[in-house]
């Protein structure tokens, strides 16, 4: 019996260990093979080195080259991007582009493992907020030195989007975008709400009450935690202080009192039923267009981005939509709202074929691709592409309108540590705790400041 027990114990221990080693550290050994070169691959130095290597490897233009291109998105984006790849391959028979596309779930995490193992695709789409983080980690190729064609771009727009303060282009913006309030104009008109006027944050409470009085099944705002965190907390700091929550020098610019004021505002949005209940919205994640109440036209407005205008309006084509103005703070240091890009596209610093990858990007941002892509990544980033789309009728009018609305504001982007994954998670947790009522605004403010200071201490 004793022997049996010992054998059983040993087998159990083995299973525990094997299960854990499989789960706990699968990325670690892969990463370890690669860590030394990755450490050396630091932004400025990385690009010329990679370029020199590339020069030696791509001397013959007819040499067969295989590139990998990954992006996330919906069906429309997938189909259009595949068509662009097809068109490029017809012009360059020696180049094969392997598409790797998916939804956004797990996309960034997958990139992390690919960076760690040195197996990231040659060309990849990047979430705007993560651009500065990727640049810091040295995984982006210097596109300027690689010869990217920026002649159709506005120089200021590029400087603000994809250079990360370096003076060189490390990522290309895929379009023009900004925060958007997509308004169900039919319901807004019926209730008597005018989102085309300029208003302040407190106006939401008055409008929220009007909507509830009009119909108990309706709410003023459809606010998912992810988008609403950026819409309220980050904009609050930009408007109040004229600065991001954490700036590039790793200073925390929002005080505990300011956080508490902001969280009190969020709590009121839920207590006074301006927003649909957080528990109702949670299962839909950031896919507001899947919420049956949005499809049924029971929200006046959805908090989101210009790039989501087309999917939100497609959810119910019988409703008339418009892009609403964005709230301002009385006496704020800045109007806070800014126009940036919905995503970036970059080339991997360790790509074996950066020249070909950049050549593909030049095609991707050229006129032929513009007519294929339309507004699958928001309004195109160049005037030439916008004109082509407008002429061919592929420019979604609501997307264009929402970009125009966001461009009337003069705030500055808070891209950097504030939009990094860890800080975003801290802010999102705070928003969720307040919206669910599991923390008071004061408690949430105290914890948020503590966690942000902790983040700053470990990243300085």
């Amino acid at each position: 019996m004793k022997r049996k027990k010992i054998v059983a114990l040993a087998v159990s221990a083995m299973m525990v260990m094997s299960l854990l080693s499989g789960c706990g550290s699968s990325a670690a050994p892969a990463a370890s093979t690669d860590q030394a070169p990755a450490a050396e691959t630091k932004t400025e130095e990385a690009a010329p080195a990679a370029e020199a290597e590339a020069d030696t490897q791509t001397t013959d233009s007819d040499e067969p080259v295989t590139l990998r291109f990954s992006w996330w998105g919906g069906d429309a984006r997938h189909e259009a991007t595949l068509a662009v790849i097809d068109a490029y391959q017809k012009l360059h028979p020696n180049v094969t582009i392997e598409p790797e596309y998916s939804s956004y779930d797990g996309y960034s995490e997958k990139k992390t493992t690919e960076f760690a193992s040195g197996t990231a695709p040659d060309i990849f789409q990047i979430e705007t907020g993560l651009g500065p983080e990727y640049y810091d980690k040295g995984v982006l190729y210097n596109l300027t030195e690689g010869g990217i064609d920026v002649s159709n771009f506005d120089a200021n727009f590029l400087e603000m989007n994809g250079q990360f303060g370096s003076g060189s282009q490390y990522a290309m913006p895929t379009g023009q975008a900004g925060t958007a309030l997509i308004v169900n104009k039919d319901l807004a008109d019926a209730v008597g709400i005018d989102f085309s006027q300029q208003y302040n944050w407190d106006q939401f409470f008055e409008w929220g009450k009007m909507v509830r009085d009009y119909d108990k099944d309706c709410y003023l705002l459809s606010a998912n935690t992810s988008y609403a965190t950026a819409f309220i907390i980050r904009a609050w700091c930009r408007q109040m202080n004229g600065k991001p929550i954490i700036d590039a020098d790793m200073n925390l610019n929002m005080t505990q009192e300011q956080f508490e004021e902001c969280f009190t505002f969020i709590k009121r949005l839920y207590d006074e039923e301006v927003c649909a209940p957080a528990a109702y919205k949670a299962p839909f994640g950031d896919q507001d267009q899947e919420d049956p109440n949005w499809i049924a036209g029971k929200y006046v407005a959805s908090i989101g981005y210009t790039s989501s205008a087309d999917v939100l309006s497609a959810a119910n084509s019988e409703i008339h939509y418009m892009a609403g103005n964005l709230p301002l703070r009385d006496g704020g240091k800045s109007d806070g709202w800014f126009n940036d890009c919905p995503q970036y596209i970059g080339v991997y610093a360790k790509s074996e074929h950066p020249k070909e990858a950049i050549d593909f990007l030049n095609f991707f941002y050229g006129p032929d691709a513009a007519s294929i892509l339309g507004t699958v990544r928001s309004v195109p980033p160049t005037v030439v592409a916008q004109e082509i789309c407008a002429k061919e009728g592929t420019l979604n009018p609501l997307t264009k309108e929402s970009v125009t609305v966001s461009m009337q504001y003069n705030g500055e982007s808070d891209g950097g540590p504030t939009t990094g994954s860890e800080v975003t998670a801290i802010l999102t947790d705070a928003y969720e705790n307040v919206s669910y009522g599991t923390m008071s605004p004061a408690e949430a403010a105290e914890e948020t400041v503590e966690l942000l200071n902790d983040y700053i201490d470990t990243h300085k």
Partner: protein, 297 residues
């Protein structure tokens, strides 16, 4: 001559085992050891690790409030799932331990959910079923009952995920079924002669006779539950308000989202120790209730 033949057969056996041994060394032992090293470092997977000593562990236990939320969610999940799954699988096994027409088909049907394992597809299906406008709420509504925000409410999200795990009771059920078949019929006959009813027979004969299998299932299910990741990741993303933020998911986010591989490795070692402690405690208690056939006592 005989000895030589035996040695040659031994070598053959080792040769057959070699692929497994290599796999074990490269894919399990090596990551296991390196993860411990990384747990003592600051490591973002792109730059060389910096040695920190026990800082990651100290931070986990003294400064990381999220860790205790995750720990409590994980333990609660295990408490919900393990007993329910064992009772459910034993109950179904008892029902299927009969010789009736079509019993094979029924056994296959009950085993089916386990074939899907902890797959992404099943988790997505679960999510759709338990959404506010999903099938379960539609049924509740038809029955004239209040609908429930299963995935949006922190109080119901964890039990909903636990139900997914319990639903996949097939593998335990098959083991119980096999164990029940091994219980000598003569014991029941003797008990019947002595006047024992079915309930008494169940607790005095069936349970002790299949106790090694119960013990094995408890150990395996506990290990599984403490390592949950897929359902928490797919169905709830750890929410709402971290109510389903299991340690496995925290480890994943720390490592792959925040690129804190050293810290994530430390968390994985804490999970390992946790599983080990639970397993040892269970082994410690086994001598009081597990009956082995060759046990003289």
């Amino acid at each position: 001559m005989k000895k030589k033949k035996l040695r040659s057969r031994d070598n053959q056996a080792y040769l057959y085992l070699l692929p497994w041994i290599i796999g074990m060394l490269v894919l399990q032992i090596y990551p296991f050891i390196t993860s411990f090293y990384y747990s003592l470092t600051k490591y973002n997977a792109l730059e060389a690790p910096t040695f920190l000593g026990l800082d990651n562990y100290i931070r986990l236990f003294t400064r990381d409030k999220e860790f205790f939320k995750s720990l409590s969610a994980t333990i609660l999940y295990s408490v919900y799932t393990v007993p329910c799954k064992i009772i459910m699988s034993l109950f179904i096994a008892l029902l299927l331990n009969k010789s009736r027409k079509g019993i094979g088909v029924l056994r296959t049907i009950y085993y089916l959910p386990s074939l899907f394992g902890g797959s992404i597809a099943v988790s997505i299906l679960w999510k759709i079923m338990f959404m506010d406008d999903g099938m379960i709420n539609a049924i509740l509504h038809k029955l004239g009952m209040e609908t429930v925000s299963f995935l949006g409410n922190p109080a119901t999200a964890l039990p909903t995920l636990s139900a997914l795990e319990v639903w996949q009771f097939g593998s335990s059920m098959v083991m119980f079924l096999a164990a029940l078949k091994q219980v000598p019929q003569s014991l029941y006959e003797a008990a019947q002669i002595d006047g024992a009813g079915p309930v008494k027979s169940f607790f005095k004969i069936t349970i002790p006779q299949i106790s090694p299998i119960i013990f094995f299932c408890i150990i395996m299910q506990t290990i599984n539950a403490l390592q949950n990741f897929t359902s928490a990741f797919v169905v709830t993303q750890g929410g709402p308000v971290k109510s389903t933020y299991m340690l496995g998911l925290k480890l994943y986010n720390d490592g792959f989202l925040f690129m804190k591989m050293g810290y994530a490795s430390a968390t994985s070692w804490v999970i390992f120790m946790l599983v080990l402690v639970f397993t040892l405690v269970l082994f410690g208690t086994s001598r009081f209730w597990v009956f082995y056939g060759d046990d003289e006592s």
